[in-house]
Every structure is written in C-alpha cells, then in structure tokens.
Symmetry: C2
Subunit: 462 residues, 2 copies
C-alpha cells in the first residue's frame, strides 16, 4: 500500500494508469496474492484506486476535489434558541463549554460502555443487521417500564415506545397532537430547544413565568383561559434551565386546571436520574391519562447512543408507532438499544449514578463559590443536576457576554435563549460539571468587568 | 444471586424484607464483600431488590406487574401503506418475508461489523459518550462525498448532512420545503412509505404513472400544469417497487420540466450500490441545483446502524442542520456513524457489494422461474436490486392474498399499498432474497389457486 501511495504521490503513477496485476505484484514482492488483493481493496475503499470489474485496478481518475472545511463555531450567528445548541455541538471536545447541556466525557460510564460493545460484537447476526421491531427492543422497553414502576408510574412495556432520541420523542408527540397555528404553553424560562422544536411545528408559543415551586399558577390559569392551548410542555424535576422542582401542591393544581381546560401535558423527564430523592411527577399523579412522559439516557450514560422513549396511553402509543414508521421507518438503532440495555443492567450502573450525584453536589458547591466571588448568585438552590441558573451583577447583558466569550473559545448559555418573553437579559445558565477549568471563571470575570464598567466617554463622575 | 432469587421465589424472603448485609453475607459464604456487593447490584439492576441509600438492600416492594405481551403481526389491521412496514418489522426474524424491503441477515457483512465493533470498543471516550457535531461525523461525510464524486456528483463534505436514517433524511427535506396542503408528485406505483410520510405532513399526493423508462412524461407535464406541485419524490435507479431505471432522455426531460415549473426534486437513491453499472441520475445531471439526493446504508451494510444522509445545496444544508437540531438535537448516533465508516473503509467492502450483486442476480433468476411456474410474470426485467414487481394471474386480489398469507406467517407486499390511484390490485412486489424458503412458493401457489378458483355456488359452468 505504501509503495503504491508513494508512486502516486511522486506521479510515477498517474490518474488512469493500470496497476500491476495482483498475481504479478505478489510474485515481485514475494507475498501471497491474497495479501496484495487485500491491500488493493483498502486503497480502493480509500478512493485512491478504482476497481473496474474484469479489467483490474486503476489509479483513481481525479483526486478528491474538496478541501475539508470543518464546521467550527459560527461567530456571526444570531443569538437565538438554536445558538447554544449549534455552538456547543460544533465547539470541539477541548473547548470549555459551561453553556452546554451535558457532562464531560470522563464522567460517563466508559468502562461499562466498552464492555457492552465487546459483548455486542458477539451478538446474533440479526441484532447487528436488522431493523428490529416497530416499538424498539423489548428488553430495553421492559427495563424502562420497571424504572417507571419504581418511580410509582404503572406503564406496561407495550406502552413504551423507543425513539431515535429524547428530542425525537417530543417531536413525535408534537406531530401527533399539534397542527400549525395551535398554541402551546411553556415555562418562561424553558429549555431553549422546546422553542426551536415548536417553531419548526409552526406553533404559537405562550410562556408562563416559572417560580421556584413550578409554574406561576395564576398566570397559568389565565393563559389557559385566554389562549386555549392544546399542550403544556415542561420538565417537572430539576427543571431546565432553573434546576427548580415542582412542588406537590402546584403539581396537583396544574393537573386539576389541565383537566378543567382539556389540556394535554408533556413531561420531559430527562434529568430524573439526577434527583437525590423522588419528587412529585405530573405523569405519576395523573397515571398517564392526559400526561405523556418522555426521557432518554443521553445525560447519564451516553449521548453517543441516541435513544429516547415515550410512555403514554396505549392508543396514543399505537398512533405514535405508526407515525414513527411513516417518518423514520423504525426507532433507534437496534444496536444502540442493546448497548443501552446492557449498560443499564450492568451491576456497575447504580454505583455510577450515585457517583454522578455525589460528584455533582461537590461541583455545584465549588462552582457556586467561584461564581459568588464574581458577584453571580443562583436564582434557586437546585436539589440536583448540573445547572445553576444565575443572575449576573449590574444588569449585564448575558448575550453580549456570551458572544464575546465565544471569541475566546468559551461557549456560554445566555438567559434570553431560554425566554419566550425575552425578559432574562441578565441571566445565565451554568453547567457546573463544565466549570472545572479555572480559565472559565477568569474569562467570565474579565468579560463581566468590561461589561459593567461605565462606558468611556460617558457621563463621567457624578 | 441464585440463593437470593430462590429465597424470593419460595417466599422465604418477601417484599420489603431487608437482605443480609454485604459483609455478613460475604462472611457466611466465604467470599469477598465486593463479590456480594456486585451480586446485589446485578439483582438491583434487574429490579428484584432495591438499594435504599444508607439503609442497605431490600426485596423489591412489588413484582413487575405486567405480563410481557410482545407485539406480533396485527392480523386485523387494514391493508394501508403502513401495513407492510409494520407487519415486516414485527413478524420476527424467522418468518419468511417476501414482502419486506431488506436482505436476510446472513447476506450482510457480519464479520466486518463485528470487527468494527471490537475496534470501536477501544475508541476515544468522546466517541463513546458525546453528541458529536451538528452535521455528523466528518469521516463519514467525507466518504459519502467521495462516493458521490465517483458517481459523477460534485458535492463537498460540507454539503452532506448525516441524519438518523434514510427515512429521516426525506422527512427533514419535507419539513424544510413543504407546508400542510402543498401538493407533491410521486410515481404510481411508488415506495409505500412515501405516501405514509407525505400523509404525516398533510400533503396532497398526486400519482404519475410510472413506465419502464421513468415517469410517463405526458402525464408528468399535465400534472405540473394542473396541480402546481412543490416537489417530486422518486427513486431514479432500481425504482421501488418496480425495479425499473429512468432512461437518460426521460431524466433530461423531467429536469427541463422541473425548471420550467419551478419544481424541486427529491431523489432517494437508497439502492445505488445494487446497480451493475451507473445509470442516469437526476441529481448528477442537475448538479444539486433543484435536486436533493438522499440515501443510507441500511440495504447494503446494516439496518441496525440507523443513519442516512442528505446531499444538497449549501444554503439548504445549513437550514436542514438547524431544523435537525430543533427536532432531534443531533443526527445519527456518533457511534453508529463511526461503525459505518469503519465498515465502508474496510478492505472487504467492495467484495461484499460485488458478492451481493452476483448473489442477487442468481436469486432473481431462480425466483423468476419459481414465479413463472405459478403464472406470475415480472412487469419489467430489473437491472439489479432485490425487487420483482409482478402481476398475478387471473386478476387475483393481491391484498386478499397477502391477508390470507399473514395467517400462515408469510408477509407479502400487495400492489395497492404502493399505489396512489389504487389501480394495482393484481400486482405484488417480491423480494427475491427472501424467497429462498421453498414454503413461500407453496403457500403462494395454494392461496393463488384458491383466489382464482370460481367461487362455489357461483354461476356454474357456462
């Protein structure tokens, strides 16, 4: 292979030249013909040479014509609800990302993942090659059913649908229940991608102010009366971005209002495993009557294993399964579902989750003290998870700071990307697991100081 | 573990009972405490026992309350465009499935897949745990760009977006370009899931009769004038279900008409690798001006590795990337993209594809002779691929036969699921790779005979 590569680079062989026959080359090099054939196949797979059936191998007609320009951070991009997602995804693995929504790679159960992969390499052919069943791997659905049962939610495996991701679970539910022009309630602030998703569905989005105990009930009730929304989309436990948790009385009242106004609730429970103890859940109180629960394992086990799930009423699950076949043919990669199931049933899983919770507690305390030094204080004290929702001092504009930080390779999550009302200008969401690099605090402090300093040439001393 | 399980089964331990302490149990059994802790963790992961933080392990409060009723074939289901998909997905791996749209598991490159998995088990942490970049793994995008280039289509890696599947590629394009109430042209017959997908988008579907050379040009032009469709969705090479291939003059004329009527074309090129030689492509002739090309590797490498791609204009790829973040956060599982890339660049890949083509040629000839014995003849002689689109003798109703065959565990694909006009009653699509089991022919022959026999008590002898 090296010989051929060298001869092409030095132009001893040029485009269209026929390569020596496999047999001839083998004789010259004193190796077996199969060794040469294998080397040619690798070069062909790399696109350096071409196989023409019956005629032999030739130097590829043209080199690959495109420079590889990889997508990096998009500095000029408007700070909209998609801003944080694309910046965090494309920032590269080395950049500090206090704005992103996941844990660092070395927090994940890498040893269990590797074990599961090695075991899967010996799985039956069908697991490695076939589409799997329309609702997704039975073993993982049974396991999810059991996890829900342990949380007090009776949901048989047949009422669990696996999806391509947690986001896709929400998307499928929206596709089933919503039509363009419908109105949906979200929390203000809420997970930025709820807004991006609902916009893709051409939905009218109405925000309800979120309090440390859940949605503001007066405003929630007023919005139901005024806007007749079809759906309320929320996280109940360890709410994104605030880290708050709905209280039992508020949860009860939200459900009563929902019943009164024929409102469906979608509870995205993606942070459930980070709770120190079980908090009230709308799906559990309601028993999947008018609440749909969604989730995934991207935050706790691996985001590289794309798989989400929907737990809902049986007739809705049937409709969602048809819909998923129509738009995606099947759900997650069956291999991915197998790997997740293997990691979930690995004896190390419980300890991994406990270790995550403990490490996050320590990290949260550290980050909080680091931020306090900069005059940044959390809006609420979260019970768990990796977010701190904070107000910047001096009314600083978080979007301007985030834009400046990106120039220095730091991805931040400014408040207004989470806010339908755009009223969160001085707020910022910090991921405490991504603040370990001391440079984060330094850069942030410097930008904050520059932002709150009186503009030069301004009104001068009082 | 067996000891605990036995004691629970025999009700020596009941719900809520505390298990012996790890240390006590280890001493009694003469093993190390870590061995016992590991066993308890496995039982906890199985849901048989519960760990209460600080208090030890307890027998789980209630056994799993649900009988596991797995989804099997749905016998009562209406024969609609989703019928074949759900029946084939849920039939189980042992049922003969001449109606399904994939190759048997032992045709797939299982050894290369296992090699790739073992290699991936040693990949860097980030590959195993992170979301990856917004457009998907750079290596696979570069490889797809090169495959397209080899087919004469200049499309740089930045104009390739990886998606969760081939179907999802089509779905994303529809989401970008269509609004409810828009009109889309499809071939009559066409892949049944095109109809299911477009219905999910609330699109008006107009069918254009398909000829052995491509769409009927007169009817195509008339439909453009009459219905002002936004999009034409088709497969050009080895068309599904007919196996026909568009001719160069028809392709040229379709593009000219599209330009004249400002029509966008989506070319789903999922069967490209099965062609014996390169046929005309709309995307190649057009150069991605008004044609979007989609594809996947589910048919040739593995359907368990869910991943598709879109090749399109740069500005469209940017919009599609935003849209994919909004509805799915990212694309395929990064692990899956890595595995696919490894199999594609494995030296064995070219030989695998060549072997598939040869085996399909033999299979096609065999199946054709088997079907000829039953009086079933193909509508066109396909150049490659695994479909034979056939007319049943005596005007038999293919849907009735498919429904009866399902009772005997045989999944068939009746003509009208592919037909917008519902004019394909006596047609059936056969997957030649799934006809190796001789029972297929026997069952089919028997059902066909019953269907075409004069009904008893009918008009009697003439």
């Amino acid at each position: 292979m090296n010989d051929i590569r060298r001869r092409i680079t030095s132009r001893a062989l040029v485009a269209g030249d026929k390569l020596p026959s496999v047999r001839g080359c083998a004789a010259r090099l004193g190796v077996s013909p199969s060794t040469v054939a294998e080397a040619y196949d690798v070069l062909a797979a790399e696109g350096i040479i071409l196989a023409r059936r019956g005629a032999g191998f030739f130097v590829a007609a043209k080199p690959q014509p495109f420079a590889v320009s990889e997508t990096g951070p998009q500095l000029a991009r408007e700070v909209d609800p998609l801003w944080v997602a694309r910046q965090s995804l494309d920032a590269g693995t080395d950049a500090p990302k206090p704005g992103c929504g996941w844990l660092p790679e070395d927090w994940m159960p890498v040893a269990a993942l590797r074990r599961a992969m090695r075991a899967l390499a010996a799985a039956p052919d069908a697991v490695l090659t076939e589409y799997g069943s329309s609702k997704g791997a039975a073993g993982l659905r049974r396991h999810i059913s059991r996890l829900l049962f342990d949380q007090g939610l009776a949901c048989p495996p047949d009422q669990v649908l696996l999806t391509g991701s947690g986001s896709q679970a929400l998307d499928l539910v929206c596709r089933m229940l919503l039509r363009p022009g419908d109105t949906v309630l979200v929390d203000d602030p809420c997970y930025f991608n709820f807004q991006a998703l609902l916009r893709a569905h051409q939905i009218r989005i109405v925000g309800v102010p979120y309090t440390p105990e859940g949605p503001d009930l007066d405003r929630f009730e007023a919005a139901l009366g005024k806007h007749r929304p079809r759906l309320y989309l929320t996280n109940s436990a360890l709410h994104n971005p605030t880290g708050a948790t709905i209280s039992a009385p508020v949860a009860h009242r939200v459900l009563a209002l929902a019943a009164q106004h024929d409102l469906i609730i979608v509870e995205d429970d993606i942070f459930a495993a980070f709770e120190p103890d079980l908090s009230p859940r709308l799906a559990t109180l309601d028993g999947l009557e008018r609440v749909v629960r969604t989730g995934s394992f991207s935050k706790t086990l691996s985001a590289s294993l794309r798989c989400g799930y929907i737990a809902a009423r049986g007739d809705w699950i049937e409709a969602l399964t048809d819909l998923q076949v129509a738009v995606n043919f099947s759900g997650p990669s069956p291999m991915v579902a197998e790997l997740l199931h293997a990691v979930l049933t690995d004896g190390s899983c419980r300890k991994h989750l406990e270790a995550l919770r403990n490490r996050l507690s320590r990290c949260r305390a550290e980050t909080q003290s680091q931020l306090a030094d900069l005059g940044i204080r959390p809006w609420v004290q979260p019970r768990g998870g990796f977010y701190l929702w904070c107000e910047l001092p001096g009314g600083a504009d978080a979007a301007a700071i985030a834009r400046a930080a990106l120039q220095e390779g730091l991805v931040l999550a400014p408040g207004n990307v989470f806010s339908v009302s755009q009223s969160m200008t001085p707020f910022m969401r910090f991921n405490v697991s991504q603040m370990q690099d001391r440079s984060c605090g330094r850069i942030l402090g410097r930008l904050l100081e520059a932002a709150t300093r009186r503009p030069p040439g301004g009104q001068g001393e009082p």
